[in-house]
């Protein structure tokens, strides 16, 4: 019978004590494994969210907020500099103008309605605000909603749809224009086209020029489908806003480079632009998950140390109890390595059985524990979470300033509207599942515990002198 087999047999010399050690060890290891699984699941979630938030940076003039804010327009020249920044793949530029019926032959498909009456007439400028017509005469206010013209060098990137609660514009009729086009052409929203009886080939006037409809788009929202998309340089020329840009989206080659490029864009534009990356916003929202990750990491480390200490103290007790036996073994010719091997084997037996128990319990408990951790952390920060979302839409400006078209600074990215809410909901949907890596983690944990647990036992075994056996007779 080898020392290893004797060690395994020794682990069951005192069944009650052995079961106690294995159960306690198993529970602590279960906690460690649950934490490892939770950490892995949360980490995966964080990575998924980061990967899904895109690789874009929104740039708008400082102080600009749709048609409510101010600021000085950015320029095409500045945008060209941004395009030179390493890792930037493209810069999508846009210039938005709102035209009233005096500047265009088009009429908005949207009726002001009671909300329009409420918000539109309440402030200086009312709903029409920037370019609309408003009148305030006592309690009856009438105005027409202006039509939004968006000049862009990147048609088809949710410049209208994404900004107004819809999706990427889908061309339902005709074709679109080239990014560098300067023709007097337009792709018109389906609602606007319908209200003005436009179809592909029709014309309308804007800024005194005749514009030809080359396509009809559907962006999935009433407001978005009330717009007009035109080539950037055409709008710049017609609106007498040569070289001006009201928003831009910088596209970065990788999510990993977004933070660096954001800093470079800020450095390039200085205080004249508001630069926001989706990643920054996401990082704020991911803070609760990062907390869970930190908690699970520390708990994992603490559990492994606790398990190691439990085993260490148990083995210390066992070695002290068998001091005489160790002396006998040495007296009858057992080398230190054999006696040490026997106790390490005993320690490993406890560890392996504890790990098996811990693995089973840990896998079973990992999902509830992960959900509890994620829920408690995201709930505790939910108040703060709602704040930025509400502030972003600026309810105050909505009612007082009268900007009907509550455009986000970037004018792009459906994520900014409603995206927050659904995104925050998915944050709590973390599914913890065991995998091969879990087994590997459990194996590493077991090794660490066995090493910690055996060290002191081994030191004590080596210190026992065989002569002590005879002295104690």
């Amino acid at each position: 019978m080898s020392a290893l087999v004797r060690g395994v047999k020794n682990a069951f010399r005192n069944m009650v004590r052995s079961v106690g050690i294995i159960v306690i060890l198993g529970l602590v290891i279960a906690l460690a494994i649950s934490m490892a699984i939770a950490r892995s699941a949360v980490d995966q979630k964080i990575n998924d969210v980061r990967a899904s938030t895109g690789n874009t940076i929104s740039v708008s003039p400082a102080g600009f907020f749709g048609f409510q804010g101010g600021g000085t327009p950015l320029t095409t020249a500045e945008m060209q500099k941004l395009a030179q920044i390493p890792n930037v793949t493209s810069v999508r530029q846009s210039l938005q103008e709102r035209l009233s019926t005096s500047d265009t032959s088009l009429k908005s498909s949207i009726t002001p309605g009671s909300l329009g009456q409420q918000f539109g007439g309440g402030g200086n400028g009312g709903f029409g605000g920037f370019g609309g017509q408003s009148s305030s005469s006592g309690s009856t206010q009438t105005f027409t909603i202006p039509v939004t013209f968006t000049g862009t060098n990147a048609p088809g990137y949710a410049l209208v749809g994404g900004a107004n609660g819809g999706g990427t514009e889908k061309l339902t009729q005709g074709s679109t224009f080239a990014p560098t086009s300067s023709d007097d052409v337009a792709v018109v929203g389906k609602n606007l086209a319908s209200a003005n009886r436009l179809s592909v080939g029709s014309t309308f006037t804007a800024w005194g020029a005749t514009i030809k409809v080359i396509g009809i788009y559907d962006a999935g929202s009433t407001f978005a489908d009330d717009g007009v998309l035109m080539p950037l340089s055409t709008v710049q020329t017609l609106a007498n806003a040569s070289g001006q840009v009201t928003s831009a989206t910088v596209v970065v080659n990788s999510v990993d480079n977004v933070a660096t490029v954001t800093n470079q864009v800020k450095a390039e534009l200085g205080s004249k632009a508001d630069v926001t990356s989706t990643q920054q916003i996401v990082e704020n929202q991911l803070a609760p998950l990062n907390s869970v990750k930190t908690i699970s990491t520390y708990t994992l480390i603490g559990s492994v140390i606790a398990a190691g200490l439990i085993l260490l103290l148990s083995m210390l007790m066992i070695v002290r109890e068998r001091r005489r036996e160790i002396g006998v073994l040495k007296a009858i010719g057992a080398p230190n390595k054999t006696v040490v091997g026997q106790f390490v084997s005993e320690s490993l037996t406890f560890t392996v059985l504890g790990s098996i128990l811990g693995l089973i319990v840990g896998i079973v408990l990992s999902n509830p524990i992960t959900n509890a951790l994620v829920s408690s952390n995201t709930n505790s920060t939910s108040t703060g979470f709602a704040g930025p979302g509400g502030g972003f839409v600026r309810p105050g400006g909505f009612s007082g300033g009268g900007g009907g078209n509550f455009m986000p600074p970037s004018g792009g990215g459906g994520f900014r509207f409603g995206g927050f809410h659904s995104f925050s909901n998915t944050l709590t949907q973390v599914h913890a599942a065991a995998s091969w890596s879990t087994l590997l983690v459990a194996f590493v944990i077991a090794i660490v515990i066995a090493v910690i647990g055996s060290t002191v036992a081994v030191a004590n075994v080596v210190r026992v002198r065989p002569a002590e056996v005879l002295r104690s007779e």
Binding site: M1, R13, K330, I332, G333, A334, P466, V469, L470, E473
Partner: protein
Amino acid sequence: MLTVENLEKSFTTPAGDVHAVDDVSFVANTGEMVAIVGPSGSGKSTLLSLLGLLDAPDSGSIEIDGRELGNLSSSERTKFRAHDVGFVFQGFNLIPNLTAQENVELVLEFADWPKDERADRAEEMLEMVGFTPEMAKRRPSRLSGGEQQRVAIARAFATQPPLILADEPTGSLDKKTGQKIVQLLRAAASAQNATVLVVTHDDRVAEQADRRFEIEDGKLSEVG
């Protein structure tokens, strides 16, 4: 043959230095049973520790069959104990969770006996001390004191060592059983041509030895 010359060992205690073994010299021949008697604290067990290389002497020499043991390294001492010395303790000191057979096989493992010969050798030794195959499967807790000491004797002689050291082998046994154990020790020593050194304070045990030494305050003297 065991030759001991000018062996000394002292310990430092709060009360001062104690000479546990003080200039001890003697010779024990092969196949001979030698008894060392003395009261408690006279240095009997310390002398046995030195002879079994469980402890190192301060000075002096120990030789077995002309081989000097004083300058062996720690691992050589371990090897020596495994191959050349058999211990019989007062409290038997069998490993409690191993059967009688496994207890005997244990020393054969430490002495590097071929694996396939260990079981046969253990059976043979247990048979020599009067154990049936059924008894050989019992654990120490299911054996009487006398039976346990017989297993200890089988264990001590299993590796055919030239030296057997017995520390109060009858101390935990009744008179009749003790008598049988001493007879067994004598018989085994003679059968295996081993030198047996018995430390005891029981005159009846000492009387059965070929020679008898007395130890007092660490000094050894032959008395018969």
